[in-house]
Amino acid sequence: MTTRRTVIAGAAGAGVAAVGGAVGYRAWRDREPASPAAQDNEGRLLWRNWSGIQNAYPQQRAAPDGEEALVGILKSAPGPVRPVGAGHSFTPLVPTTGTLLTLDRMSGLVSHDAANHRATVRAGTRLGDLGPALAAIGQEMANLPDINKQSLGGALGTGTHGTGRTLKAIHGDVIAFRLATPKGDVIACDRTTNADIFHAARVNLGAFGAVSEVTLQNQPLKRVLKRTTAHQLDAIIEDWPNLIAQHRNVEFYAIPFTGLAALITVDETDRPVSPRGPDADVDAVMELKALRDLTGFLPGVRRSLAQSAFKDAPPEEAVDEGWKLLSNERPVRFNEMEYHLPLDVQMTALREVIAAIEKHRPDVFFPIEARVIEKDDAWLSPFFERVSGSIAVHAYYKDDYRFLFDLVEPILRKHGGRPHWGKLHSLKAADFATLYPRFKDAAAARETLDPEGRMLNDHLRAVFIDG
């Protein structure tokens, strides 16, 4: 059988490499991006986000072990006080010259309600640790994002989501939380107690204070079948309305310059457990990179080789508990822009994004992700009162990502998209005021809780006040 690697290696052997680009140029483009100094002149340790594009030298790092210590930090530590989870946001939510606040010491399960499938969890808990902790009490979150390294607080604060037509983003299943504020309060919120704060700060960008505990509405632990299959992209786009109706979780990766898509579906099953095999995504992405390196300036050859290499890829299947299958390891770093659009324009926008990239940016090779998310009622939720179709465009961490702003963002904005709070965007307060019906109410609630702006860095000041 011809393997993907054989086809790509064959392209190199046939001399395509010589046409596609000089070896020296490829080596230059593959260099590791320079890192700022590990410490600044005053001995402060460097902080960088996961992808490496956001940097800071915080004056202080704080890791409280409980609410009392947390409140003390919010009130008195050098500002701006910026909470950090796992550093997975691409936007500058975290950089501060003041205090970097991690809730890593405030993690784990607090209590649970077996009858109603609810669990109260400390906000510093990483999603990857929460899955097994909930499984031990017979519960699971209804949905999970693609990556599970994030902290629960960080995921809620940025509106992080998975995929599924009837499944809400993570904050959509929050029924209560406790918020520590810079004024020194710890406020318990739910739909009836401090309801305005509950609605305003469920998605909070870490700008309202710091959430210390969260009560999640979970569901009984279930076994699911995850299938990954290769298809022609046009067929998947045409079938998308049916796919989102048929499957509990469904998403696809459109692979630019190939005419191909990888479809991932997850559905409940009674089949016996068949654990996931070794990760194949990294190999696939790096093979797409090799194809870009070899044939980036020969789009016809690139498409033809990709069709030969990927179109008959065998399906991958796994059966297990959902928390073991919904998220993935992503050791290949990238930068990302994701917008959430009205579902009825999602595929139109996707076609436009792919066409623009294929016309102007032959260096792009990362697949483009399409997902679907149920609406909710959190005031700063990108899914506020709107079932959404998301489009996420990625750039390899060593590659130029400015095309996301110049080429992709205008298309996504034209179609009424709302950006993911943790992923790249250029929007400011005035833009959000038009996109979010309750934005001004949320901003007013934030100011009441943090009147001195201790939680605001420059980015958040532009988001809430000055933009």
């Binding site: 590791e32 700022p36 590990a38 340790l45 490496g52 890791a63 390891e329 050791p331």
Partner: protein
């Protein structure tokens, strides 16, 4: 008889020579999961950050306790390893996503994972 004596001597020598056990990748990952720093503070930092990648094969990170995988990295020297850890390198995100770690914590955690604590 001489052959038996030689074989016995070789077997005894092998038993007395310290060497890392040969493990399959899956066994190495399973072994990594059994390890934790003795110091309680380091153990907490490790569990929250390093462990999420350095015990999982699919992350491509060198596994905790896998001396062979760490050999080439260890030869770079502690200062270079610390710089790579703080700034990130390849698939390794900056700081190993441990944001309350001090430089001394990083050095201790690297030594623990590389099986060079002593």
């Amino acid at each position: 008889m001489r052959r038996i004596a030689t074989a016995t001597a070789l077997a005894l020598m092998a038993a007395c020579t310290p060497s890392a056990p040969q493990r399959t990748p899956a066994e190495a990952a399973a072994h990594a999961l059994t390890l934790t720093p003795k110091d309680a503070r380091l153990a907490d930092l490790y569990a929250q950050s390093c462990k999420t990648c350095h015990t999982v094969l699919d992350t491509s990170a060198p596994l905790t306790g896998d001396r062979d995988a760490w050999d080439a990295r260890w030869k770079k020297g502690k200062p270079a390893l610390l710089t790579s850890t703080v700034g990130g390198l390849g698939g390794m995100p900056a700081g190993g996503q441990c944001f309350s770690c001090t430089p001394a914590d990083y050095e201790a955690l690297i030594a623990f994972m590389a099986d060079r604590e002593h």
